[in-house]
Amino acid sequence: MNTWKYLFLTGEFAPRTHILGGLTLEQVGVRPIGAPHSIYEELWHAAEWQRLTLDRDEAAHERWEGGEQFPSRPGPEDEAAWQTLTDSFLAYSERAVRLADDETFLESDESERYPGATWRNALECLAVHNAYHMGKIVLLRQLLGNWSPPPEAAET
């Protein structure tokens, strides 16, 4: 098993492509009563954190630390914007898996985020952060009546 592919794309719960597929523009922008964020907001947050971490985008990191951690609107402008976001999240998840193929990279220093951290640590944290928001997205889909586990599902 390629554990990094499992952690970022396919395993421990539904494939990320399944979690993010088959949603309407209206559904991704809705905040069910009591939910602080919509599906779009949850994914934007996860995607932006993943992107700025892997790109080492210091300017974006500063904006993030300054409170810009969610988008300015609960839903995307249009379907193309939603597709762009999902494509970007999945592309960066695939990039994380490719980076993790390099053992030297994994053991290299990433102490900008945490003292003594390696890139292995950073990718572990990223996979966990993604999972937290994927869980919320799946529950939001259930609330909207648009969730069926994939046929080979290990998780609901």
Binding site: L7, P32, N121, E124, V128, H133, L143
Partner: protein
């Protein structure tokens, strides 16, 4: 504590103990069309955590363990049952922390071809998926109070 250890305690989102400290009256509720209650989510992740920790410690495990298992009831029998489940989850998390702090143990290859570290990474991600659901369930029920300095909603 190392980063891997802290992925079982407080890193990336609210402290796990804070998340599972839930008023009993709400643990068996399925708000709206949610598929599972807080109790069901915690039961599922706790039992899987127990199983994985046995694997990671090289103990014999059942080959037919159903990783999709959820309890046969939506709510615990009584408050004692709930508190016991919470204790079981936290005790398992403490075991994961102890194992994650043992560099020699982390490198051990298990019979399934994974290392102990890889098993713990997978476990942390699985736990987190369900803890994220529990946080949102609490928000939907109006009983979520973020801990101080919580960077994650």
């Amino acid at each position: 504590m190392t980063i891997l250890q802290r992925l079982f305690t407080d890193l990336e989102f609210a402290p796990r103990e804070h998340i599972v400290t839930v008023p009993f009256a709400y643990v068996g509720v399925q708000p709206g069309a949610a598929h599972h209650s807080i109790y069901e989510e915690l039961w599922h992740l706790t039992k899987w955590q127990n199983f994985v920790l046995l694997l990671a410690r090289g103990k014999a495990v059942r080959n037919d363990y159903n990783e999709e298992a959820f309890p046969d009831r939506q709510a615990p029998e009584d408050e004692n049952a709930w508190l016991e489940l919470v204790s079981e989850f936290l005790a398992g998390s403490a075991q994961a922390v102890a194992l994650a702090g043992d560099e020699d143990a982390l490198a051990v290859s298990l019979s399934d071809g994974l290392t102990v570290r890889e098993r713990l990474e997978l476990l942390a991600v699985h736990n987190t998926y369900h803890l994220g659901k529990i946080v949102l369930l609490r928000q939907l029920l109006g009983i979520w109070v973020p801990p101080p300095d919580d960077a994650e909603a």
